[in-house]
């Protein structure tokens, strides 16, 4: 029986017996190793994502070919550079994410930690995973980085489409809000035409100015809401103020009826966000609450500051959400409203926007006893606006 040059155990060649056989075996083992190395490199290079491994000092110790291409390092090696020189990831965001990444073992069972950044006009998502390289004393962290620019654009389009559909229902409120002062303007002008008392003419002209300002303010708030989110820049906003604006927008609608509003606001630090997106979140939540109450009930808007997060709740005393639907309400196109009333996209968009700012949205409801939606958003660290510029 012929003895094999080397036997395989778990895919690893074992040293063969005898001097000649050993020499021959070593050569073959070396070739097998090279082959394995090149194959691994090829696989890593063919991945549509960049892979980086960094050590405890944030130094890149491995980069696949895609990474060099993505981040403009085609002609010089990425290895050896500090991660922060290469990617616009703010160090404090990195430290926050890596603190929970287990130092070794498989990431299975651990939630992947991820974030986003923008560079060279492209948006990237990165996910972290723990790496335990053979012989290394310290823990390493791996990053898989994917280009999500197109996905982001699609998401922005979807957000805009949902907003346009909700504008349909807001328009009747706007018509009401504009029609009244418009009538006032027309009628006062007619009255002025026949009035001879200069004092009265002055008074009526003053009314016209006030009514016109009112129309202008309504048009401005709607135009601001309707504008595509991708067009406006992130800015410092006061969430309490945005809740009041969102409420005004929804309350204009005649269906708002006699709903009583309770505001319980805490003093809040500013948020660094796109204003129209935050408006969209709360216009959505408040309209849903109003619809659930069908013109009668109590709407409670609450804000709180829990250390580094802002919590904003929208509570209604409406029909509540059946238990069976609770897990599905954030799914796109899930709706219990009559055809033509809702697209089923509202809450899924709320979820998307809130997640984009590293926030969460939760619901607490019992059938017949109303519902409370709570949005948690991380507080902007003052003086560290750039820390949030990673969120496109």
């Amino acid at each position: 029986m012929e003895t094999p040059l080397f036997t395989m155990r778990y895919g690893i060649p074992l040293p063969p017996q005898g001097a000649t056989a050993q020499r021959e075996g070593c050569k073959q083992a070396e070739q097998a190793l090279w082959r394995a190395y090149h194959e691994t490199e090829k696989i890593l290079a063919s991945l549509p994502s960049s892979i980086l491994i960094v050590n405890g000092e944030h130094q890149i110790i491995y980069a696949n070919a895609v990474a060099s291409h993505h981040f403009g390092f085609e002609n010089c090696p990425l290895v050896g550079h500090s991660l922060f020189e290469v990617l616009p990831i703010p160090p404090d965001q990195w430290n926050r994410l890596t603190v929970d990444v287990p130092s070794s073992g498989s990431p299975a069972g651990h939630p992947l930690h991820d974030g986003e950044f923008e560079t060279h006009k492209r948006v990237y998502q990165y996910r972290l995973f723990p790496v335990a390289l053979y012989g290394a004393d310290e823990a390493q962290t791996g990053l898989v980085i994917s280009d999500i620019t197109e996905q982001k654009q699609l998401q922005d389009q979807l957000i805009q489409a949902e907003k346009l559909s909700s504008i349909g229902t807001l328009v009747s409120g706007m018509a009401h809000e504009i029609n009244n002062p418009m009538y006032g303007i027309l009628a006062m002008a007619e009255i002025i035409l026949e009035e001879t008392d200069p004092e009265k003419i002055k008074e009526y002209a003053h009314d016209i100015v006030e009514y016109s300002k009112h129309v202008a303010a309504v048009v401005r708030s709607f135009a601001c809401y309707a504008r595509p989110a991708s067009g406006d820049q992130k800015m410092e906003i006061d969430l309490n103020e945005r809740l009041i604006e969102a409420l005004k927008m929804v309350a204009r609608n005649p269906q708002f009826g006699d709903i009583k509003v309770v505001k319980d606001f805490a003093a809040l630090p500013p948020l660094w966000v796109r204003r129209s997106e935050i408006d969209q979140v709360f216009v959505n939540l408040i309209s849903n609450a109003a619809q659930a109450m069908a013109g009668h009930g109590c709407l409670t808007l609450t804000t709180r500051l829990d250390t580094d997060r802002i919590a904003a709740s929208v509570s209604d005393t409406g029909s509540g959400i059946p238990k069976a639907n609770l897990t599905r309400i954030f799914d796109p196109f899930f709706t219990t409203k009559d055809p033509g009333v809702g697209t089923g996209l509202g809450l899924s968009i709320v979820f998307k926007i809130v997640s984009k700012y590293e926030g969460t949205v939760s619901v607490d409801s019992e059938e017949g006893k109303g519902a409370t939606f709570t949005v948690h958003l991380p507080v902007m660290k003052l003086g560290r606006k750039e820390a949030h510029d990673g969120v496109p």
Binding site: S172, A175, H176, N179, N180, P181, M182, Y183, G184, I185, L186, A187, M188, E190, I191, D207, Y211, H214, P254, G257, D258
Partner: protein, 137 residues
């Protein structure tokens, strides 16, 4: 205006001062007496307080208002004061709503913004009709 004699009493049910003020000015100038309330519940209260003394010739009523909408008030007026003409003033041109209001006995339907001429023509017609109706009774 060509006519200076007191023409009648109008109950205006409208929540916005921006609308009430020009209507009040126009109707007063045209010789009408104007009673103003800002919602349906108040209108019902005024009518119930002293029905005989009020003697309204025409009710000019908005539809969408807080507290007892115009529709609720109109149903009440039709039931209790069937002879008083009602004119609806609304910001929502809605054919179906207009048709159902006419069926309820609403005499006319004005869409904001309305010109003074339209307003005065409609009010005059309603007040005249109420005068005729009262005379026949």
């Amino acid at each position: 205006m060509e006519c200076h004699r007191p023409r009648g009493r109008i109950l205006m049910v409208e929540d916005e001062e921006q609308v009430r003020k020009p209507i009040r000015l126009n109707l007063t100038k045209a010789g009408y007496e104007v009673l103003e309330v800002s919602n349906g519940a108040e209108a019902i209260m005024v009518m119930e307080a002293d029905a005989d003394a009020v003697m309204i010739d025409t009710i000019l009523c908005d539809i969408r208002m807080p507290r007892a909408s115009g529709l609720e008030a109109i149903t009440y007026f039709r039931e209790h004061y069937p002879s008083v003409p009602i004119v609806v003033l609304t910001g929502y041109p809605d054919v179906e709503l207009a048709a159902s209001l006419m069926k309820q006995g609403v005499l006319d339907y004005l869409t904001k913004p309305v010109t003074r001429e339209e307003l005065l023509t409609v009010i005059e017609r309603c007040v005249d009709q109420h005068g005729l109706f009262s005379t026949h009774q």
